[in-house]
């Protein structure tokens, strides 16, 4: 936002800010998922028939695609978390921008690699 007197108060997104926002959003998504996950798995208490019926639904194509997304979100949160540990405890602060791009690259590669088995299961190719 530019004010009349010429001062520019806009926030340009820096690498560190993007990393921080993505960490918050992925964390929020994972906490939401964890709540649902504990609830879904509590169907184990209903015995094999009830549980396998729920799992059949989750083995459907829609959920396989969603699980690829979950894999990507997990990877980002875990790898950026390691980046944060390196910054806090291992003197990584000086290299926080480079570390973000390393995280970005590894997340991208592992998400694609992890998608392969999901797509195989999807196609029933085993």
């Amino acid at each position: 936002m530019r004010y009349k007197d010429g001062y520019d108060f806009s926030y340009k997104l820096s690498v560190g800010q993007v990393a921080w926002i993505l960490h918050r959003l992925s964390g929020l998504a994972l906490m939401f998922y964890l709540g649902l996950h504990i609830w879904v798995i509590s169907n184990l208490n209903g015995g094999p028939l009830a549980f396998n019926k729920v799992m059949e639904l989750l083995n459907s194509p829609v959920f396989k695609i969603l699980e690829i997304g979950l894999w990507g979100v997990i990877l980002y949160h875990v790898l950026n978390g390691i980046r944060l540990l390196l910054i806090d405890f291992a003197g990584g602060a000086k290299y926080h921008k480079q570390l973000f791009w390393v995280v970005f690259l590894i997340v991208l590669i592992l998400t694609v690699l992890g998608a392969i088995p999901f797509l195989h299961h999807l196609g029933g190719l085993k």
Binding site: R24, G27, L28, L30, M31, L34, G35, I38, W39, I41, S42, L44, N45, G47, P48, F51, N52, M55, L58, N59, E67, W71, I74, V78, G81, I82, L85, D88, F89, G114, P117, F118, H120, H121, K126
Partner: protein, 122 residues
């Protein structure tokens, strides 16, 4: 003379430290968990497969710790995030209570599921 003038004396450092500590366990166990569920084998999740794992005390302990560290880490993170945006003291207390209550319910539900698990059927 009071040294911690005007503060509760609780800096929150321990909460922060446990958030970091649990993250290390979670990073390792979450990746193992995801690989075992989706990458090793045919990718289907069945009652029988889970029963086999929960029959081993090692998996059971790993899973219970996974449940508790995951909930601590996630709920601490959620509160840490929300308290940045909620400034009204009533709503802060309300949201804090909601997170604590929801967390307690999930701890109970998850514990019952893992600890009480007894295989039904062959």
């Amino acid at each position: 003379m009071r040294k911690t003038f005007g503060t509760s004396g609780n800096t929150g450092a321990m909460g922060w430290f446990f958030h970091r500590l649990t993250s290390i366990y979670l990073a390792v166990v979450l990746l193992i968990h995801f690989a075992v569920m989706h990458f090793i084998g045919d990718g289907t999740i069945t009652y029988a497969k889970i029963a086999d794992r929960l029959a081993s005390p090692g998996w059971k302990v790993l899973d219970i710790l996974f449940l508790y560290t995951g909930l601590y880490h996630g709920l601490y993170g959620l509160w840490n995030l929300l308290e940045d945006y909620i400034h009204n003291s009533f709503w802060r207390a309300f949201i804090y209570f909601l997170i604590a209550f929801g967390g307690f319910a999930l701890v109970i539900l998850g514990t019952i599921t893992i600890v009480n698990f007894k295989k039904i059927g062959g």
